[in-house]
Amino acid sequence: MGFFLETLFGGLMVGMLYSLIALGFVLIYKASGVFNFSQGAMVLFAALAMARFYEWIPKWFGFDNKLLANVLAFAVAVAIMIAVAWVIERLVLRKLVNQEHITLLMATLGISYFLEGFGQMLFGSDIYKIDVGMPKDPVIVLEKLLEGGVLINKEDLYAAAIAAALVALLALFFQKTATGRALRAVADDHQAAQSIGIPLGRIWIIVWSVAGVVALVAGVIWGSKLGVQFSLSLVALKALPVVILGGLTSVPGAIIGGLIIGVGEKLSEIYIGPKLGGGIEIWFAYVLALLFLLVRPQGLFGEKIIDRV
């Protein structure tokens, strides 16, 4: 029982991190109808920027304060992600308005190749460390209820808390601010939003910037767990089943989808994996999503797809 709970918690934590990446997909899809395959490359790019500026800034200015260095590096990385968003909107999105989904999808694949090459050329392609002072030691909870208690990684707990806070913040931003309202209007209907005077270009820059910042947070958390390296861009592939499971257009869907995939993946790896030869995590998530979709083709919380002739 203790072991089961441990796996369950582990799955929930990982799921929270998947949601964080899935969130980036959903934000951009909602506002610009682009299925942004470059989200993984953005995570890598942001994490690389953060890790490198954390090394460089203290060297340039000659101080030795970890907190200050982290804060400055984060700020610089945010600025870089906003710049990336601006460039993408200017050079790519604006020219591809009204193209088909698949063309846009391929364009983001092109962007992701570019970002992967550019990021590694600019910042180097070794493995870098991000140290934002997350505790690495595990804690044992529920000792009174269960024999031996349940082992939880403190780092995972912090990461989940950060992810939850970010989601809450985004929800507030979307629901309560004028910009958030404009974003939702654009998500609803581009043309109607434009006709009442919402500047589409600026909204897109904002959304891509927000997605960039989300990518940065995801990159920092994943990076401090696994180290910043090329394989970071592959976590996006793990977030894809989360996105379609939760529904492409739903923020809560991304969260709940992430939790389902995280838990399903971990439990299957432990309880079904050995029978099949192990390593089933990666396809299990997709098959799980596929089975869910067979019941609800628009995902758990996606907008219902209505076909009219």
């Binding site: 299925f35 989904h101 063309t103 090459g117 596929l290 995902g299 797809i305 002739v309």
Partner: protein, 354 residues
């Protein structure tokens, strides 16, 4: 002036419905075939044949298969690499386990296995549509990646899924030199291209296109979505499977599952989209572009004598590749095939456009 159909009157349905109704087109395609079958093997160097022509032919074949699914039937698939892998490994198993199976039969049987799996993974397309389907097809990709790595039976108990083939021959003729490989691939490509062209011109091709343009409307006018979608999946994965078999047997010789990973799927999708969705010709243009571009980018620094270390060079290649793809999509979202047909239209009026 030269490319004009004036005076070419058709007096039978047969003449009216041929693949190339214009005489100049027929002449051009015959010349192209002669060039491909005679001139290229005679004049091209071994390196050129091995590094460019053979991959180009095989990947065009795969792109052709994918184009039927994505371009004609409108079902986006990100799992093409999986179907190539199934074709390759199935063909390998037929050769390794059954004594004396001819190469061509093994490859076709491999394609058949790929068809079966393709139809299986095509079944969700009846319910799941658009981008949801695209992501769902990744299930096929990751599942086969895993299966060929972990299930030893598929790879004849070789470790890490790497297998190799040797001593290939077709009708007693050994397939060893680049020229022989080239001719074999070319033969396959020509036959399948002709087949595909005729399929998409026929009733079934029209059904696919109707489903692509709007599946509900197509169903209303009496096209069975189940039949149309599943046949598209079947034909597409058959061609892709045969291409996978060729890729493993002829181009690589020995391979492991990573040869057919998700990057391969993306590469093929790029070919189809840059070449032109819903165009047989486009598959060739796209394959040529995607095969030649990286080779060209690799060579570029040497030509200009710019010394670059390998890491920087590979990052630069990534960047330029990505940027060029975006550039192409912006300049011509309908692919090179559209440029081609525009050029042909212009040529018809040249030199007196008014």
């Amino acid at each position: 002036m030269l490319y004009r159909e004036n005076g070419q009157f058709k007096s039978s349905y047969r003449a009216d419905q041929q693949i190339f109704p214009i005489l100049q087109d027929r002449v051009a395609i015959l010349a192209l075939l002669a060039l491909a079958f005679v001139a290229v093997p005679v004049f091209a160097s071994e390196y050129l044949l091995r590094a460019i022509f053979v991959p180009f032919l095989i990947l065009s074949l795969a792109a052709l298969g994918l184009n039927i699914l994505v371009g004609y039937c409108g079902q986006i698939s990100l799992g093409t690499g999986a179907f190539m892998a199934i074709g390759a490994y199935a063909a390998y198993n037929f050769q390794a386990r059954i004594e004396g199976v001819p190469l061509i039969v093994a490859l076709l049987l491999g394609g058949l296995c790929s068809t079966v799996v393709g139809v299986l993974f095509g079944v969700p397309s009846l319910r799941i549509k658009g981008l949801y389907l695209a992501v769902a097809t990744l299930a096929a990709q990751f599942f086969t990646d895993w299966a060929f790595l972990r299930i030893q039976w598929f790879t004849n108990n070789s470790s890490s899924g790497s297998v190799s083939v040797a001593g290939l021959n077709v009708f007693g003729v050994p397939i060893e030199s680049p020229v022989q490989k080239y001719l074999l691939c070319l033969g396959f490509l020509v036959v399948f291209a002709l087949l595909a062209k005729n399929l998409v011109r026929g009733a079934i091709g029209r059904e696919w296109m109707a489903i692509r343009d709007m599946d509900v409307a197509a169903a209303v006018i009496g096209i069975r979505p189940v039949y149309a979608k599943l046949t598209a999946f079947a034909v597409s994965s058959f061609i892709v499977g045969v291409a996978g078999g060729l890729w493993g047997f002829i181009h690589l010789g020995s391979w492991e599952p990573a040869a057919f990973n998700i990057d391969r799927s993306f590469q093929l999708l790029f070919m189809v989209i840059i070449g032109g969705l819903g165009s047989i010709m486009g598959s060739f243009f796209g394959a040529a572009f995607i095969v030649v571009l990286p080779v060209f980018l690799d060579k570029l620094p040497y030509w200009f004598n710019v010394p670059l270390d390998t890491a920087t060079a590979s990052h630069l290649t990534f960047m330029v590749f990505g940027a060029l793809i975006v550039f192409f999509l912006i300049v011509e979202p309908h692919g090179i095939a559209r440029l081609w047909s525009t050029a042909k239209e212009k040529l018809r009026l040249w030199p007196f456009p008014h």
